[in-house]
Symmetry: C2
Subunit: 287 residues, 2 copies
């Protein structure tokens, strides 16, 4: 996806014509230049950098000082060429003949991902999923302090969850502005999602992680990512079906000869880039 160069990218970039300047269209530097905005790091690489970061943190804890691209790639489940290319986007921090200094690399990736600045997070929809997000201290806290929780249910109001009292969705705008929230997580059911989203945006949130199975409408300066469990399940279903079909063609192994045969182990990952996700029906937990 779980992800990549999804179509709808704001292709247009900026309006072709200069907004204010009325005059002669002719020779300005303009038109093609609009497109030259170097998007630097490929979207797909950004997602992997986050993975490398986790692996590197683990290595650092275990006192490892340096790693080769080969080793790091193995831990992250990618191949080494891809890893080196990904790292090359953020600069040259390796030492030829040696490898990468773990601490240095961690620092550089954090810088690139903007993790030096702590982004305050608000979670809307304190059902099971919301609880899961708010409760586990170690989760969001590594750079993403949860600063506010919102729900409709009056029974939840002011009850602290993971140390933070739940506020009313009516106060989203106000609270988000006060606490300078920049990232919003929507864990509400489908119905409330767009409304909550609008409020978060009005409250100054610029990035949204959406668990509700709807395509949110947002102004273009807002970035949305979607996580849709039902879609993930359906993708898995597709692969089971495909596998079964293939098995049908090649008779060979039929029975339920259980157990991992050779025990071969391959790295894994979401084998794709899942742009939009949705689901057949409400899947998210209670408001």
């Amino acid at each position: 996806m779980t992800a990549h160069g999804e179509g709808e990218r704001d292709e247009a970039g900026q309006p072709a014509d200069v907004p204010s300047g009325s005059g002669s269209p002719a020779e300005s530097i303009a038109v093609p230049a609009a497109r030259e905005r170097a998007r630097a790091i490929p979207e797909a690489a950004v997602a992997r950098l986050a993975v490398y970061l986790r692996v590197l943190s683990g290595l650092e804890e275990r006192g490892t000082g340096t790693v080769s691209s080969e080793e790091l790639a193995a831990f992250a489940g990618v191949n080494s060429a891809k890893l080196r290319k990904d790292l090359s986007y953020i600069g040259s921090y390796g030492t030829r003949g040696v490898g990468y200094d773990v601490a240095v690399l961690i620092g550089q990736i954090e810088r690139t991902l903007g993790l030096t600045k702590k982004h305050r997070v608000a979670v809307a929809g304190i059902g099971n999923l919301g609880h899961a997000l708010a409760n586990y201290g170690g989760f969001l806290n590594r750079g993403f302090p949860v600063a506010a929780l919102f729900d409709l249910d009056p029974d939840l109001l002011d009850v602290p969850v993971g140390g933070i009292p739940v506020s009313s969705v009516d106060d989203i705008v106000e609270v988000c502005r006060e606490r300078e929230v920049t990232i919003g997580v929507i864990a509400t059911p489908t119905e409330g999602a767009q409304d909550v989203c609008d409020r978060l945006v009005e409250g100054g949130v610029v990035c949204i992680l959406n668990f509700a199975p709807v395509v949110l409408q947002v102004p273009e300066h807002v970035e949305v990512r979607k996580v849709d469990l039902a879609v993930e399940m359906q993708i898995l279903s597709f692969h089971v079906a495909r596998r079964n079909q293939e098995a049908m063609v090649v008779p060979g192994v039929a029975g339920t000869d259980a157990g991992p045969p050779g025990g071969g182990a391959n790295g894994n990952g979401n084998s794709d880039s899942a742009p939009e996700r949705g689901d057949v029906d409400g899947m998210v937990v209670r408001p």
Copy 2:
């Protein structure tokens, strides 16, 4: 995502030589043919088909009989050319000059995704996230009945969650075989994930949805998808950082002139294909 053509794909396909037939290597149709196994539908398209399906279900409920590619695309947040190409992978079920019959299309997408066969699901790790998954009836039930729950915590054993009693992780293999579970969801903390995964596989599970921030090692016949919230957050963080940087270059709009300006609304989606995900640290909820 999310889901497709990730590098590590089992390139090799089937063994180059015909499994059984020993004889002369010479003129068989073989060698290049191995590679010709049409992988048919692009992984990225599969993820979107699931989204179209959700939208179509909504339309059907509201009694809509037909839709044009333009309309359907708008609801799904993609452009119509992409939608038509995606649908073309599963066959020609539209009517030129008219559009698509909603019911027919639903049927065809369900068939393609293998949703006609109900896949039984097991959830391991009944913390907040596990509860979220197990509880909400409407979630997995649309084609994915939850057939088993597993946890380490003795206090949870036999306590029914969403109608299903929790079993011990020690019984994973046995229970999964008995209940013919084909899809496993891992919502445990990092530590237990690989162990649980091994057991699920031994119990006959062929697809795994993994919420733990580790790259699971699995035999190659098993498909794994990963959902990693920390990675999602970090990707968002990256975008905030990039945006701020750009804003720095182009002085223009500085202040906190809140509120959605024009109110422009663009469809959204995960702007990329995130193959592997991971996270800086434990993020998943309690076991």
